[in-house]
């Protein structure tokens, strides 16, 4: 197992790679919903609206001052920290992103498996600065919403204004979803993303399926890692 202890301000922080070195089956937060037949394999089908999970991504929470973190994130990830509240910056191919969560908190999402190495590089880069990095990859998952009815589906689910006036491309908000909370993101013109907590994932799936029944909604997830 790879692990690391970082000296900072005379103390240290202990982190380790949570992924096993051997191949071991993993279950995304949508696993239980899939077991019950609520989630299908990705089929590439196009209805009025579609929800697709992007499981097993690397999710890191960055805490610290914007100026401090910005330089490190740009250097190590090639994306600048969103300058304004509720900003979402996505790289060219859409696979890595940095999102404002609060004045001292950002969410970084990268392809699965990159997160530990990225955390190490960021920690090295940041050195003695006061910051925190927390790996939350097992605790949440990303789902994409697309299709003509995606906006209406969201209007049934979140109180936030999901019209492009309220949620233009490049914006992301933490908000109420049905009776739980999600991070709602608008990474591009074609759709929306939700970051949902593992323990609430099945509730969110059931809510979406119910709200999307009239649009023929399907929830899909890749069948294996």
């Amino acid at each position: 197992m790879s692990e690391a202890h970082f000296e900072a301000n005379g103390g240290n922080v202990a982190v380790f790679d949570t992924h096993p070195s051997e191949v071991i089956a993993a279950e995304s937060p949508l696993h239980w919903s899939r077991e019950r037949g609520l989630v299908d394999d990705v089929a590439g089908h196009d209805g009025d609206v579609k929800v697709v999970e992007r499981p097993f991504l690397g999710h890191l929470i960055l805490r610290g001052g914007a100026i401090t973190l910005d330089e490190a994130v740009r250097a190590e990830l090639g994306i600048s920290l969103p300058g304004k509240p509720l900003g979402l910056n996505v790289d060219a191919d859409g696979s890595r992103s940095v999102q404002w969560l609060s004045p001292d908190e950002w969410l970084v999402i990268v392809p699965g498996g990159e997160e530990f190495e990225l955390e190490n590089r960021l920690r090295e880069h940041l050195g003695d600065a006061h910051f925190a990095i927390v790996n939350v990859s097992g605790g949440q998952t990303l789902v994409e919403l697309s299709g003509d009815k995606a906006r209406e589906l969201l209007m049934k689910s979140v109180t936030y204004d999901v019209h492009s006036h309220g949620l233009p491309v490049g914006k992301a908000v933490g908000t109420v979803f049905a009776k739980t909370s999600v991070v709602l993101r608008r990474p591009n013109e074609t759709g929306f993303e939700l970051v949902i907590r593992r323990s609430f994932a099945d509730y969110c799936v059931r809510w979406l399926l119910d709200a999307g029944r009239e649009y023929g909604l399907r929830v899909e997830s890749p069948s294996s890692r």
Binding site: K84, P85, L86, L101, S102, P103, E105, T159, Y160, V173, G174, T175, V176, S181
Partner: protein, 129 residues
């Protein structure tokens, strides 16, 4: 259902994202051990309940998780301003009374003024969002 301006998210959000945390500007005595039992009891248990201008602390629980303050009129439920922790209100019961006496409305044209500063500029200046 309030529509509350979060000074950190820099926009208005539905009340259900927030949670009230009681009276604003309470300060824990820095040396509790030297405070009398009575004074400590006051700090623990006694709160203002004014009719009219009130300063409350809220937390953007399901958004940015930050605490901030609200100046609210408890009779109209109007939120007159919201401001980050560490800052002082620009509208108080005193200034509101002066405004009323001078026939000047507070924060007309919206519900909340934003970006409240420790030093208020002029009393009669209309600040609206």
């Amino acid at each position: 259902m309030f529509y509350i301006f979060c000074p950190y998210c820099d926009e208005r959000r539905e009340e259900e994202e927030f949670h009230p945390s009681g009276q604003a500007h309470l300060v824990r005595p820095t040396d509790p051990e030297s405070v009398s039992d009575e004074a400590w009891g006051d700090y623990l248990f006694f709160r203002d309940n004014p009719r009219g201008i009130h300063h409350e602390m809220w937390v953007h629980r399901l958004g940015c998780r930050k605490f901030f303050n609200i100046t609210r009129d408890t009779t109209t439920y109007e939120i007159l301003e919201t401001y980050p922790m560490g800052e002082q209100p620009t509208i108080t019961a005193e200034t509101a009374r002066v405004r009323r006496e001078q026939g000047v409305q507070t924060a007309d044209g919206g519900w909340q003024t934003v970006g409240a500063q420790p030093e208020n500029s002029t009393l009669n200046e209309e600040t609206s969002s």
